[in-house]
Amino acid sequence: MTMTPDPLHDDAAPRGPSAVRSSVLRLLAAAAVVVLVAELAARVVGGQLAEPLAWYDATTQLKDGQVDELAGTGLDDMVIGTSMTLRGFDTQTYVDATGRTAYNAALPGAVPSVNERWLLDEILPRVRTGRVILGIQTIDFSAELHDENLARWEAARSTRTGFLGSLERWGSSVSGLIRHRQELRDPAAWMNLVRDRPGPIEDTAGTLTDLGFRDVYVDDFTDFARDRTAHELATINLEAASEAITRMASALEAEGIELVLVEMPVPQAYIDLHLEGQTSYDEIRAHYRGLADNLGIELIDLATDWDADERFTDYTHLDVVGAQRVAELVAGQLN
């Protein structure tokens, strides 16, 4: 049996504890200088790059600012959901039709597990509301969207929980390297700087009004959009979304806030993307309708009799006329 030769000690290495200590001190000093120089550079360059993204996405970051502006005030209705609701519910139309105050807080990809965190942890502690309107469709039950988007929510600087979350927020408050790291490591941010293009947050601000989205969409019935949506609908996890809705309903009930589900309209092309087409679509619908029944939640069905597929700009999103019609229909039902 042979012992491993010692790789660390040879004639050229410093001898004696004090020589080694001095060598280690010089190493640490050099490392500290490099870190300090990088920190200074990050502060200088970071300011030129895009605004740091601290939230789940750019829309959320902007909406967080809007929720801050609403803080302390009371709203009659708070609208939440995915981008189907963000783009498909025109709040101004709803406000005009009902005379109530409302805010569209829906976020892209915000399936119920994400909405639960957004609504309960971020919105309601700041803004009082009497009713929550949750836009829902079968895509809310996508396992892939649940896994990916909840992970993204939990990884975002502002919403990361636990010790690492606190460390991250503290670090970003004292260090430019940490504050700007997402942008510093992203070639797209550097390219935007070189091309003098807006960053994601500034870019989103161009389309996001205080109540929803402007009508700036382009037709997107592309193969990519079809494949992506079909992929999202191919993995369904009824349990995760149902549990999140149940927890939200319970928390809202405890606060005396009414919860209403609005089943968002979809085009036939969307229904066809389900794993077994209409059959799968009907099964998932039956599931959340049963859930609403069990929880005693009102469900407004805008999907069954929807007859304006031409109002869709892609497989899931309405144009502004469609969004106004949805708002009118919801207003009519709730009035």
Binding site: M1, R21, L28, A31, A32, V35, E154, A155, L177, R181
Partner: protein, 469 residues
């Protein structure tokens, strides 16, 4: 508990400090306890497998040493092989048979409840199974004597720095180190251990994890990707798998060095190889050596003529592929490398190599070797045969459509970073010693590593790829 987690950042210093604070006679017990905690943090139920392997092979090792009858010794060895490979087969390869059975039953319209049949794979089972097997086989061959201490053997089987993803240590290297009275490490050794951990983290967090989204994009829907985008995905995977696995090995070696135990070097800049045989002397060295000593040579090695040599190479690499998991993709990956090795051996035998080939020849040989390795990686990474062939056909069809410029920048960053680290390691050979000789240069390297870690961390922890094996 993974190496790039907060838990490990607390666990390792605690174990190291306690290890050196304890009297020498308690240190092995601490290593065993800490290793069981480390492994149990995934799923404590699988600790029973470790204990079974430990008890069986300790007993078999003792019996093999004492038994004089050749037949009985063979029976004892057979017991060790059956138990170890039985556990490995039951947990690692049963899903392959379950899938086949489910397909068959579905075909017959019976539709079984697939999830109920699925078996969870215990992390690192392939690694510690090979490690324990080498112990009993070496005793059987008379190469080593068994350890008399169960606690020493338990530490050998479960040693946490290398338990879940290697390097696969041999008893004749690791057992003497565990048995020897170790003295607390001096500052130079601590420095080098921490340096190795930092290097491993940089490879994992800065290089491998940064490549992951590019790989995911290319392999998720290869039919919709252009050839350049697919090439970016494949190259990104080459960086990812190397950074991930060699990074793990560096952290393992660094962690172990802090406990006064040297682990075997598992990677020696494999992507700088100029032929495929050389690649396999540099990639996952502990597995290559294991396969050579316990499979290739017992099969006859290169002793039975050319045809038998090629057959043995092919068989060894096929089994090496299947060691990663029961799938046709791994088999084909191993088969491709077996074929590469056989062809290289054939050419080497027929065309004598020049002692000092010109630089252009060396660069061409390097590029060709790297391309072959990347082609094989497609089968390793793809989720299915169909997906792998979609990627390969997309690469060969020269489909149009460029990926975003950002993706090109990222993959060049990954390749450049990997090349830089490997060229430095190749030229300096022994970074720990250089760090002691040139502390300022080493400090700059450490500083850059820390800056890289700060910049590229902060999102969710990405598990190591080789944990699934």
């Amino acid at each position: 508990m993974v190496f790039n987690s907060l838990q490990y950042a607390v666990f390792l210093p605690f174990v190291v400090l306690l290890h050196w604070a304890l009297p020498a006679r308690f240190r092995l017990a601490l290593i065993v306890f800490a290793s069981y905690v480390f492994y149990g943090s995934w799923d404590w139920r699988f600790l029973s497998l470790l204990v079974i392997s430990t008890l069986v092979d300790f007993t078999v090792g003792d019996r093999l040493h004492r038994e004089v009858s050749h037949d009985k010794r063979r029976l004892w060895l057979l017991l060790s092989i059956v138990v170890n490979l039985g556990i490995l087969g039951a947990f690692k390869y049963s899903n392959f048979f379950v899938d086949s059975a489910v397909d068959l039953l579905n075909g017959a319209g019976l539709g079984p409840n697939e999830p109920l049949l699925r078996v969870i794979l215990p992390v690192g089972i392939s690694f510690y199974t090979f490690q324990t097997l080498s112990y009993t086989i070496d005793i059987y061959r008379g190469r080593i004597e068994p350890t008399k201490s169960l606690i020493t053997f338990a530490a050998y089987v479960a040693y946490f720095p290398q338990l879940v993803a290697g390097p696969i240590e041999r008893a004749q290297r690791l057992l003497p180190q565990l048995e020897a009275e170790r003295h607390s490490p001096d500052l130079a050794r601590v420095q080098s251990g921490v340096g190795l951990i930092l290097l491993g983290l940089v490879k994992k967090v800065v290089l491998a994890d940064t490549m992951a989204p590019l790989v995911q994009t290319a392999f998720t829907d290869p039919d919709s990707q252009g050839s350049v985008a697919l090439a970016v995905g494949v190259l990104a995977f080459a960086v990812q798998i190397y950074g991930d696995f060699s990074g793990y090995s560096d952290i393992a070696r660094g962690s172990s060095r802090l406990l006064g135990i040297e682990l075997v070097v598992n990677f020696r800049q494999p992507y700088l190889s100029e032929n495929i045989t050389d690649f396999w002397r540099r990639w996952h060295i502990s597995l290559s050596d294991w396969l050579r000593d316990y499979l290739y040579i017992p099969l006859g090695g290169n002793r039975g003529g050319q045809v038998r040599t090629y057959r043995n190479l092919m068989l060894t690499m096929l089994i090496g592929g299947l060691w990663h998991g029961a799938s046709w993709n791994f088999a084909l990956w191993g088969g491709l490398h077996g074929g590469y090795l056989a062809v290289h051996r054939l050419l080497r035998d027929r065309v004598p190599a020049r002692e000092h080939p010109p630089m252009a020849t060396r660069v061409g040989a390097w590029a060709f070797t790297f391309a072959l390795v990347n082609l094989a990686w497609v089968f390793f990474r793809a989720d299915s045969f169909d997906q792998a062939f979609s990627v390969v056909s997309g690469l060969l069809a020269v489909r149009g459509g460029m990926p975003p410029i950002e993706d090109l920048i990222l993959v060049l960053f990954g390749l450049g970073g990997t090349a830089l680290i490997d060229l430095i390691l190749q030229s300096r050979l022994d970074l720990p010693r250089e760090a002691v000789r040139h502390p300022i240069g080493a400090g700059v390297g450490v500083g850059l590593g820390l800056v890289g870690l700060v910049l590229f961390s902060g999102s969710t922890v990405v598990p190591f790829i080789y944990f699934q094996f």
